[in-house]
Amino acid sequence: MKWPANNALLLLPGLLFFLLIPGLGVVLAMWESVRGGGVFTFEHYRELFEQDRFITSVLFSLTVTAVSTILSLFIGLGIVKGFSPLLKETRHKLLVWIPMLVPHFVWAYLVYLLFNQSGFFSSIAGVMGWIDDRSQFPILVQDRNGIGIMLTYVWKEVPFVTLMLLPVYATLSKGYKEVASLLGAGPYQTFRVAEWPFIYPVLIETGAILFAFIFTAFEVPRLLGVTSPQMLAILAYDWFYSGNWSDRPLAFASLVMTGLGIGVLMWLVLYFTNKKRMHITKGIGN
């Protein structure tokens, strides 16, 4: 289907939205990160990399984010795959989506309430007599390895992954699965050929969204993180609201840099997957 005029028209609402609403915001954020005394400069970026705190924080954030994202994708996919017929029903869907209803920091708070050394599970262990004192309970939140943060994110994002994947599974043609199984493909191979090509673009995009979000959100690590190492978001937040706002450019620089980095990655991914996706779009429906 090719009607160029139509396309332009259809793209109009989206483009108008992007240019008129977040456009200026995004441009300004970038501008702030390269502005120094009214002139263009990469000074702030240089300064960023000179800070040990920044480097450690980036590395820590990367680890926590990558682990959380990958685990969320895996578990989310597992749940959708395992229960996709059941998940067609609204009530089942809503059951799984519950964690999405509450904001991130509430979920973090919940994890805190459940897993801290005075929390629910610790207390139960105490009542049961498995431990004598709460200090014997393993440190699962506000720990140096970010376990609490990862736990929160995985727990909270799995439903989001299911939300993104369910529409794909709802419309997945079962014909391809049947063909594959008759061509001798086992369960894994059937998945590879009859499901994976349809879901991986969604998985990658969902992954990118999660990655960006986890990398840059500060509510969860503020509650569940430790003082050091810190997630980048906390650092950026500190810089942003630091006393006399003189550190703000650092906040802008760090966030714009990661944002653009993920954006460029997304662009490449789209660039290389769009063609394959188009084959599928056009080839579906026999």
Binding site: R53, N116, S118, I139, R222, L223, G225, S242, N244
Partner: protein, 385 residues
């Protein structure tokens, strides 16, 4: 008024202009007692007396200032905020960035009548000259809270506190100094390491390095006795409060001598909660203020409302433990007999220290620059050691 300035007219003209208008007050909204004080006491009072509608909007102060700054940048002359609640760093920022409407306290009849206008506490806000840009609304002092069931006798000096910590490892900690209260705790330690009156002398980098070194040493040696061995610190006072309410630690602190009352009543803090101060160091106290933003659309209304907030009735209600329980910056000397009596008769609750004891140990606030300095250096010298 669209001149961006505080109106120049007579008070009478201002009040009549303000009549029938609406005033938006933006303030931190995380305390139910405070919110109810505004909504259930002040709003009806102002409505009745001045026919002004008071509208409270919950928003964190840094965000309020951010909003104002952006509006300034975009040239928005008519904003939505009429009154903000500020002090310290935030005030300094706001003032430096020209986010405030200007000097107005001399216009307020109640301020001139009932307050000690010459007091340092009103002239300086964390070392920043107020210049009448903000009117004192409340006064608080830093105290520690402890669980009297666990700690039989509260420490009276820093040495006592350290001993207590060493005897009971893991039962004490302080919030990360990027938190307002955590920072105040460190400022106390600065006081402890010097004899000079820091409040008087503005910020001096060299001197701070010097005192600071001792403070960091002290904190680092105390680390093993802190909660979680100082591996991490509660990132906010709220987090520390949670630890305290779960009885994981035995002490918390706060920049308001009466703040435990509510929490005890609501069952969050143990009933055995009491407060203490370190008598060798003293207790830093500060004043918090109300100010008018540069682009307030209803400056007359704001003036009238602030005047009302400063009135003895309002301050009296604020001091009562029913809603807020916070002490008043009002000068008891300037009150008439009847009011003074009423003020004196208020029972602030079990956990609040005697007013005289607080007064005796009062210490002035440090320059706002210390706040930032402590924040940054603590991370380097303590947290990442």
């Amino acid at each position: 008024n669209d001149s961006g300035k505080i109106p120049d007219e007579e008070w009478g003209t201002i009040t009549s202009k303000a009549e029938g208008t609406k005033v938006n007050m933006f303030m931190w909204g995380g305390d139910d007692g405070i919110n109810r004080y505004i909504d259930e006491v002040m709003a009806p009072m102002i409505k009745e007396k001045n026919n002004i509608e008071l509208n409270r909007v919950p928003l964190d102060t840094p965000e309020i200032l951010q909003k104002l700054q952006t509006e300034k940048r975009a040239g928005k002359e008519k904003g939505t905020i009429d009154i903000i609640w500020v002090n310290g760093e935030n005030f300094k920022n706001a003032k430096e960035q020209d986010l405030l409407a200007g000097s107005f306290t001399d216009k307020l009849p109640n301020y001139n009548q009932y307050y000690d206008t010459d007091s340092d506490a009103f002239q300086y806000d964390f070392g920043t000259e107020t210049e009448g840009f903000e009117a004192p609304w409340g006064k608080v002092q830093f105290v520690f809270f402890y669980n009297s069931e666990k700690v039989k006798s509260p420490p009276a000096t820093l040495e006592d506190l350290k001993t207590l910590m060493k005897e009971n490892p893991g039962k004490f900690t302080y919030p990360n100094p990027s938190d307002f209260t955590g920072n105040a705790f460190l400022r106390h330690l600065l006081y402890a390491k010097t004899d000079s009156n820091l409040a008087r002398d503005g910020f001096d980098e060299e001197k701070s390095e010097e005192i600071g070194a001792e403070v960091w040493d002290e904190l680092n040696t105390l680390k093993p006795y802190l909660w979680r061995k100082g591996e991490t610190y509660p990132s906010t006072l709220t987090d520390l409060d949670k630890l305290y309410s779960q009885e994981e630690v035995w002490m918390t602190m706060g920049y308001n001598e009466a703040r435990a009352e509510h929490l005890i009543k609501d069952g969050v803090f143990p009933v055995s909660t009491k407060s203490f101060i370190l008598e060798d160091i003293g207790s830093i106290g500060n004043t918090h203020f109300l100010a008018i933003p540069f682009n307030s659309p209803n400056k007359e209304g704001a003036l009238v409302a602030i005047n009302e907030f400063l009135s003895p009735e309002a301050q009296y209600e604020k001091l009562k433990p029913d809603y807020w329980g916070e002490s008043s910056p009002i000068s008891y000397d300037k009150l008439d007999e009847e009011w003074r009596k009423k003020f004196m008769e208020i029972d602030r609750g079990e956990s609040v220290l005697e007013a005289s004891k607080l007064e005796e140990n009062f210490k002035g606030e440090l320059d706002a620059a210390y706040v930032e300095w402590l924040k940054e250096n603590w991370i380097r010298e303590v947290a990442s050691q």
